[in-house]
Amino acid sequence: MSEAVADRIRGEVESNDVVLFMKGTPVFPQCGFSNTVVQVLTYLGVQFKGVNVLEDEEIRHGIKEFSDWPTIPQLYVKGEFVGGCDIIREMFESGELREYFGSKDIALETA
């Protein structure tokens, strides 16, 4: 991965509290796994930025190296890699994800 691509990824992750690298957009996910994470974040009422890796081949490959994680989607909160689809779903189902956002001072719109 070039330094320029790493810088762009770092820029996204550092300038947005919650960033989801995904296939498609939050409004129109193009992969079931990305869609699952979008649904979870939407349900919790978390504001997030979606980065569509299908529109950017460099980011699509670079993000896997950046996080040492082989798959997409990937969720970052305040610069920290939280996990992919399986982890986010497990954390959501156990209630840990809500607690985690709380611990990071991320606002949730649901009660």
Binding site: D68, P70, F81, D86, I87
Partner: protein
């Protein structure tokens, strides 16, 4: 040896799981991206191993992904993982 058997062998040897389930879910993805006519492209793995103790989920998944990197790079399109310690499995 089938892909499922290869996964079982690699994971069993490296992680000494007390419980291991390898489920082939390829039929659910027939015709989708990454599917192959011969199947064995999409798997669900449940691994219960005491070696996961003290590791968070990201570390556990990284460990499994690294073990199966060769299969994932080429043959297998997607793998859903559930990684538990024996205590968590009983909870």
């Amino acid at each position: 040896m089938t892909i499922a058997e290869q996964i079982e062998e690699i994971v069993s040897e490296a992680l000494q799981p007390v419980r291991l389930e390898v489920a082939d879910k390829s039929h659910l993805h027939a015709g989708h991206a990454g599917a192959r006519p011969e199947g064995e492209t999409h798997f669900h793995l449940t691994i219960v191993s005491s070696l996961f103790e003290g590791e968070n989920r990201v570390a556990r998944h990284r460990r499994v992904n690294a073990l199966l990197a060769d299969l994932l790079a080429d043959r297998v399109h997607a793998m859903q993982l559930k990684t538990l310690t024996p205590d968590e499995d009983l909870a």
